[in-house]
């Protein structure tokens, strides 16, 4: 892998950029691998990268049915944060933030981690209580989550201009300075390039159609490009968890629901922080580096694999956005889309072994982009060592039969 830098760009400029290498190979699948990862999004590619880098397992294939990063990795709102409620959630999400802040250098690929900070508006005493509970739990784990007065909120967000007859007046806010925006495509591409450089085979347009087992243990996967043998198979297919898991007869405690996002036309910088208007509908918005106002809300209210959402969600979110940013009335919606979220019953990630020996699952939780590096890292650990990573010990499927759920109220969606 030739290293990227300002100098490599300048050098290539001299030759008209005709000599850049492929960022990754497009090999034909081999007949057998030590590990096969199903799903070429951030989680799958990241798991392959960490298998190679931290566990020395390089005979790995990542199978992607479409194009790299074409699932939720390319469909989210790019926000990473660790403001969660439970003691079992916060350290895991903190690990993810730590990794995000160092990955650009490790991968030699600019993930454009923009540390904007996130401000959640507080508009009722109940919201205040939850913010305090979160802040205190996070504080224990060294994660800063600070209460802001109304004046401090106004100072940080100059265009905040609440309607005088607002249904739920903003009383103040709560602020996570380390919450960031990350260029989502770059996460997939950066992991892919670095994994490829370590020998991982990334195989696109290769859909898994079945999983072969013998005596309760995985032996390989059937794909549209033939049978590929492997004793360990990891599944990281956000939005298709139930579909792939059903190939080994595994039912999962999830529903698949669309999560919509949309952007305005780009404008010059007006909004630095990521803002969450939690009270009505859980609307959040931010301005991308490109200048678009990126907006999202909770999941659509029914299961769907259609990769499109229902318009009333956008209408609801827009009403709550205009309550606090009334000057946005003449900005225009440019594009809206939906990812498909595999939402676990308790809203927390599942990184787990299954009843089938050698079949491992990584279900992202509600909104898996923020957990990508931590999930990838702990998933690689689980696959390599067959025991969970210390920070993911409680994220296994066992928690559902033992009743030790990790109930998250701070997640973007729950059922």
């Amino acid at each position: 892998m030739k290293r990227f830098s300002i100098f490599s760009i300048a050098r290539n400029a001299l030759t008209g950029h005709r000599h850049w290498e492929k960022m990754w190979r497009s090999p034909d699948p081999k007949r057998e691998y030590d590990v096969v990862i199903i799903g070429g999004g951030g989680h799958g590619l990241g798991a392959a990268y960490f298998l190679a880098k931290e566990h020395g397992i390089t005979n790995v294939a990542v199978l992607e049915k479409g194009w790299l990063g074409g699932g939720n990795t390319g469909r989210n709102t790019m926000t990473v944060r660790s403001n969660f409620l439970r003691e079992d959630s916060v350290p895991f999400h903190e690990m993810s933030l730590d990794l995000y802040h160092q990955l650009s250098r490790d991968l030699n690929y600019n993930l454009m981690v923009s540390q904007r900070g996130m401000i959640t508006f507080i508009q009722s005493s109940a919201a205040n209580r939850i913010a305090l509970q979160m802040a205190n739990t996070m504080h224990i784990y060294g994660a800063e989550y600070r209460m802001l007065t109304l004046d401090e909120v106004k100072q940080k967000i100059p265009i905040f201009d609440p309607s005088p007859n607002m249904r739920l007046p903003v009383r103040g806010g709560v602020y996570q300075p380390r919450a960031s925006m990350v260029r989502h495509d770059a996460v997939a591409w950066g992991f892919a390039r670095a994994a490829d450089a370590r020998g991982v085979d990334i195989i696109q347009n290769c859909e898994v159609t079945g999983i072969q087992q013998e005596k309760g243990a995985v032996t390989g996967v059937e794909t549209t490009r033939g049978l590929i043998k492997a004793k360990k198979v990891g599944m990281a297919v956000a939005g298709h968890g139930s579909v792939v898991a059903s190939m080994v007869g595994q039912r999962l405690p999830i529903t698949t629901q669309p999560l919509q996002a949309w952007v305005s036309e780009p404008v010059k910088p007006v909004l630095n922080e990521i803002v969450v208007i939690r009270s009505y509908y859980g609307t959040y918005l931010m301005q991308s580096d490109k200048g678009e106002i990126v907006v999202g809300q909770g999941a659509d209210p029914y299961p769907s694999y259609a990769q499109r959402g229902t318009f009333p969600i956008i209408e609801d979110a827009t009403t709550s956005m205009l309550e606090v940013f009334p000057s946005f009335g003449r900005l225009k919606l440019l594009r809206h889309w939906a990812g498909m979220l595999d939402i676990p019953y308790d809203g927390s990630p599942i990184i787990s072994k299954t009843n089938t020996c050698g079949f491992y699952i990584d279900v992202a939780g509600s909104g898996g982009f923020k957990t990508t590096p931590a999930a990838a890292n702990t998933f690689a650990h689980l696959i390599a060592k067959d025991t969970p990573h210390p920070l993911a010990e409680k994220l296994g499927l066992e928690r559902f039969s033992s009743g030790r759920l990790i109930q998250e109220g701070g997640v973007s969606a729950n059922r």
Binding site: E21, K22, L68, M134, D185, K268, L322, L331
Partner: protein
């Protein structure tokens, strides 16, 4: 000023002055900003996004990529297309994203540095240090216009509409489809984006039924608009096609002067998509220079606005379309230098049109450069005979046509590449979407009209019955030149910048680089180069991107595929999407009969759940919250308080199996509850976690009245209704939500009986009226039900009364209690009283994780019942044992230590047996009664740790506290039973 003396729809009697980029100009009523700029010879209308190259108008419609302006004079709106802005007197607009001006832009330095900014360069550098440092500069450079600073003053609304058929686009096919559909008697709705109907007929001189097409349009549309079964909207853009044939459309500048825009939700059985097509640019070095314009756009400016883009034109094409324009150019007095045709052999029909206009045609020719930076001076081209430079002052090009299949694609329809027309046309259908005319890749007028007749006929012939039905005829048109196109791509490694996406400055070299770096999926190329991601969303550029990728890969275009068109078709203002729901209308607050009284009497209001607002506390002048709460709590503990309990949920359950149902819903029994008595019940979710609690009364043998928490009322109702209708359909029980029928006021405190006793009543308040009894009767002639329940721990009477009489009774009670200083109490005070008593709140101590044993409420769980909701999960919890979090009380060593809700619990230093997070404070307060800080908390293994010390770790303060029973005041409950 280049304006023809005659022609066009502009009103030469009504000149309009306007300002563009600081200079004053004049146009006419009927102009768009773009056409007025063309007429004023303004060539540079903006700068490109990345290299800040000067740009001119490329198109005449909503697909315009270059002429993006800030409309200063109308709310300072950013990123509007000059082609879509109707000219107004004193209009003021500026080009976006250039400084100091569009003519002289300092950021054009980027053009010189361009070799350092290949596609995706930012992924490869700026990794040292924090991205925030670099992104500050990049963000400033990015973005187009600026967001308005003032509140949007516009008003908006949403409306719903149903139609049997929705026709999108009132071009010739749309009009014909509307005609045929309307005659079947079905409800027809027609939407058209432009101010006037006619589509491309507005711009091109065609003949229909032997006369000018404009006559046909006005006659047909006039007749159709007069019909009862036709709804016709102009200036209305269908922006998205959603599930089950729901189309969203935005109507601009409706007739109502107070309304800015109206958003239509249209549910149609069938949707006919007659949105036409847009012209596609050719790719050649310098194709973005001001003065290089699409051929069809030039004709539109000339025909509709009498605005002439130049004096001497060179035409460049790969298809037959521009041959039909020669007449227009000639008539406008434009000298046509020549036609450069990429094709080797144009058809005889095309060549004869050129001959008639005496225009030389140079075949097999390619443009290799455009001279002039801020305006065209000449063009260099190559053909078999070598390289030649010709002089001209503008270039018109045509690379073929892109059917506008956006709505079809939103609906889930597929597209396919059709070789003959070199276009992505509708493929496999989804939902009720029927594309016709240009949108269907049918570029001939005659065929488009016929297609309209046929499609409308197929849609409706069944329902009208064949016998009674004679299809209206398809109107006749004059002969047309057959459409022929030969897509010829520029050679690889082209010298000079040839743009594929004008707005995002994506060139052929960028596409080649992306493919070289193994971005081969069209979606990858799009994301890596940002082609098609700009505000025109690739309307004109996407097919060229696909073509170039297929060329680089050596694959067929059909196998490279198309990108997904995501809604909206054209940008929609957030104002229109938000509709009229602002302020209190967002989620209307629910009120009780006492809400107005509460507010008048100074209540600070708070959200109470289920969209109720209710008093938080009642501050008297000079009081802060703590003072008011202390005073209110003291009143309840020592004399008398009153609060409005109306937001609580109330359900009536009737039927022979009601007792059985309640037994299954609650952890305790209700079938053995005597008539006339109430019982406190605890409801769990099936996963064993606290769900709700409340008192249920047995009114009659088969009739119960259940109350539940305000916020829980909706979920509890859903829970019971689901079980009755889907699981326990054998139970004979009717469930009615009567929450809104009853108002509830609670008179509480040691003097409550005295206050109530002052009222004239047939309800005896004697000692036989015991705790959890209820009695029906009248108070001061008002029918009531009085119950002895207590949420405060004091003697308490809950008075239930019909809503209409509630305020009257409330005032009577306030008057009666005056001498005892009866005090209205808010929810914050109720909270304090609850904490003192250690009453568990599912919303606080429940926290989605607590079971009744954790909460110390094992006394209310009857595990001998064969089944109840949650029992199985409790058995699991018991069997698994292990360390759970229990509800405990906490008494800080420092009696006045402030403790915030949500504070974390850590082990105190002296006990080393535990480490890390131990739980959190669920509710804390300074108890006015006990004169000290108290708290309820969830603590790991708390029931076995009474007497131990823990650290309460808050963000601002920490303190050490002793773990106790969660009951601080009157633990035996003697006061409420008094």
């Amino acid at each position: 000023m280049t304006r023809l003396a005659n022609g066009g729809v502009i009103d030469r009697q009504r000149p309009l002055r306007f300002t563009f980029n600081g200079k004053r100009y004049q146009g006419y009523e009927g102009d768009t900003l773009a056409s007025a700029l063309v007429a004023n010879d303004v060539l540079i209308v903006g700068r490109s996004f990345k290299y800040h190259r000067p740009r001119g108008l490329l198109t005449c419609g909503p697909e315009e990529p270059n002429a993006l302006v800030q409309l200063v004079s109308d709310g300072d709106q950013p990123n509007l297309r000059a082609t879509e802005i109707p000219l107004r007197e004193d209009l003021e607009a500026r080009s976006v994203n250039c400084w100091p001006s569009a003519k002289f832009d300092l950021r054009a330095i980027n053009s010189v540095l361009a070799p350092l900014f290949p596609a995706g360069f930012y992924y490869k550098t700026f990794m040292a240090g924090r991205w925030d440092f670099y992104s500050r500069f990049i963000r400033q450079a990015a973005g187009l216009g600026h967001s308005p600073k003032e509140r949007d003053q516009g008003r908006y609304e949403r409306v719903n509409h149903h139609a049997d058929v929705l026709i999108v686009g009132a071009g010739p096919s749309g009009i014909q489809a509307a005609r045929v559909s309307a005659e079947t008697g079905h409800d027809v709705m027609v939407l058209d984006m432009q101010e006037s109907p006619g589509g491309h007929l507005l711009f091109h001189p065609r003949q229909i039924d032997g006369r000018a097409a404009s006559d046909w349009v006005s006659r047909e549309v006039g007749e159709l608009q007069a019909r009862e079964n036709v709804t016709w909207l102009q200036s209305t853009t269908a922006t998205g096609y959603y599930d089950h044939n729901m189309v969203i459309a935005v109507q601009h500048e409706p007739a109502e002067s107070w309304l800015k825009e109206r958003l239509w939700h249209i549910r149609a059985s069938k949707v006919v998509i007659a949105t036409g097509a847009v012209e596609r640019p050719l790719i050649f070095p310098g194709n973005d220079r001001p003065g290089v314009m699409l051929a069809d756009a030039a004709v539109r400016y000339i025909r509709r606005f009498a605005a002439v883009p130049g004096k001497r034109v060179l035409i460049y094409t790969n298809n037959s379309t521009p041959y039909a324009h020669l007449e227009t150019f000639k008539t406008a007095g434009i000298e046509i230098q020549s036609i450069l045709d990429l094709r080797k052999s144009p058809s005889e029909a095309e060549l004869s049109l050129a001959r008639n206009s005496e225009v030389p045609v140079i075949v097999d020719a390619r443009i290799t450069g455009v001279q002039g930076r801020s305006g065209v001076k000449g063009v260099t081209y190559q053909n078999g005979a070598g390289t030649k430079t010709v002089r001209c002052d503008f270039v018109c090009h045509s690379g073929g046509w892109n059917p506008l299949i956006h709505l079809y694609s939103h609906a889930g329809g597929r597209s396919r590449f059709e070789q003959a027309s070199a276009a992505f046309v509708p493929g496999e259908r989804a939902q009720g979407a029927y594309p016709i005319g240009g949108a269907n890749g049918t570029f001939s007028l005659a065929e488009g009209l016929k297609e309209a007749t046929d499609v409308a006929n197929t849609l409706f012939c069944e329902s009208v019955g064949n016998s009674a039905w004679s299809t209206p005829a398809t109107p006749a048109t004059e002969d047309e030149v057959a459409y022929r196109i030969d897509q010829i791509w520029p050679e690889k490694g082209l010298k000079g910048k040839a743009f594929v996406d004008f707005q995002n400055d994506v060139t052929t070299a960028d596409i080649a680089l992306a493919v070289r770096e193994n971005f081969q999926s069209i979606e990858h190329v799009k994301r890596y180069t940002t082609a098609g991601m700009a505000v025109d969303q690739g309307k004109i550029g996407n097919p060229n991107v696909i073509g170039l990728v297929s060329r680089e890969l050596g694959e067929e275009q059909s196998s490279v595929g198309t990108t997904t068109f995501r809604p909206p078709f054209a940008p929609v203002s957030f104002g229109a999407i938000g509709g009229s729901e602002r302020g209190p209308l967002i989620i209307p607050a629910r009120t009780t009969p006492m809400t107005a009284w509460n507010i008048e009497n100074g209540a600070a209001m708070d959200e109470a759940g289920a969209n109720f607002r209710r008093p938080f506390f009642f501050p008297r002048p000079g009081e802060v919250m703590e003072d008011a709460v202390a005073r209110e709590a003291a009143a309840v503990r020592t004399s008398c308080g009153i609060y409005d309990g109306s937001p609580l949920g109330t359900f009536e359950l009737q039927g022979p199996d009601t007792g059985e149902l309640l037994n299954r819903l609650y952890t305790n029994r209700f079938d053995n509850l005597p008539v006339g008595r109430g019982r406190f019940g605890l409801m769990l979710r099936e996963d064993g976690r606290l769900f709700d609690d409340g008192v249920t009364f047995r009114v009659d043998q088969n009739r119960y009245l259940m109350s539940c928490g305000t916020g829980a009322a909706g979920p509890v109702y859903a829970h019971i209704d689901r079980l009755l209708q889907t699981e326990w359909t054998d139970l004979n029980v009717y469930l009615v939500n009567v929450s809104a029928a009853w108002a509830t006021m609670c008179v509480c405190g040691p003097l409550a009986r005295v206050v109530l006793g002052k009222l004239e009543s047939d309800i005896a308040l004697d000692p036989t009226f015991q705790f959890l009894d209820f009695r029906d009767g009248a108070l001061e002639g008002i029918n009531v039900r009085v119950a002895r329940v207590s949420y405060t721990g004091e003697l308490s009477f809950e008075v239930n009364v019909a809503r209409r009489s509630a305020l009257k009774l409330w005032k009577i009670l306030m008057e009666a209690g005056k001498e005892f200083d009866i005090t209205p109490v808010g929810s914050e005070t109720s909270g304090v009283l609850r904490i003192e008593k250690g009453f568990i709140s599912p919303g606080h101590e429940g926290d989605n994780i607590t079971n009744p044993f954790d909460a110390g409420m094992g006394w209310i769980v009857d595990m001998t019942k064969s089944d109840f909701i949650g029992k199985r999960s409790l058995l699991r919890d018991i069997k698994l044992g292990g360390e759970r979090q229990h509800v405990v009380g906490l008494l800080p060593d420092d009696e006045r230590a402030p403790v915030a809700d949500g504070s974390a619990l850590l082990p105190a230093q002296e006990s080393n047996s535990r480490s890390g997070f131990q739980g959190h404070v669920t509710a804390a307060c300074f108890s006015p009664t006990l004169k000290r800080t108290i708290a309820l908390a969830l603590l790991k293994d708390g029931q076995n740790r009474h007497g131990e010390k823990v650290v309460i770790s808050g963000l601002e303060n920490s303190c050490v506290a002793t773990v106790t029973e969660p009951a601080f005041y009157d633990p035996k409950g003697e006061r409420m039973r008094a």
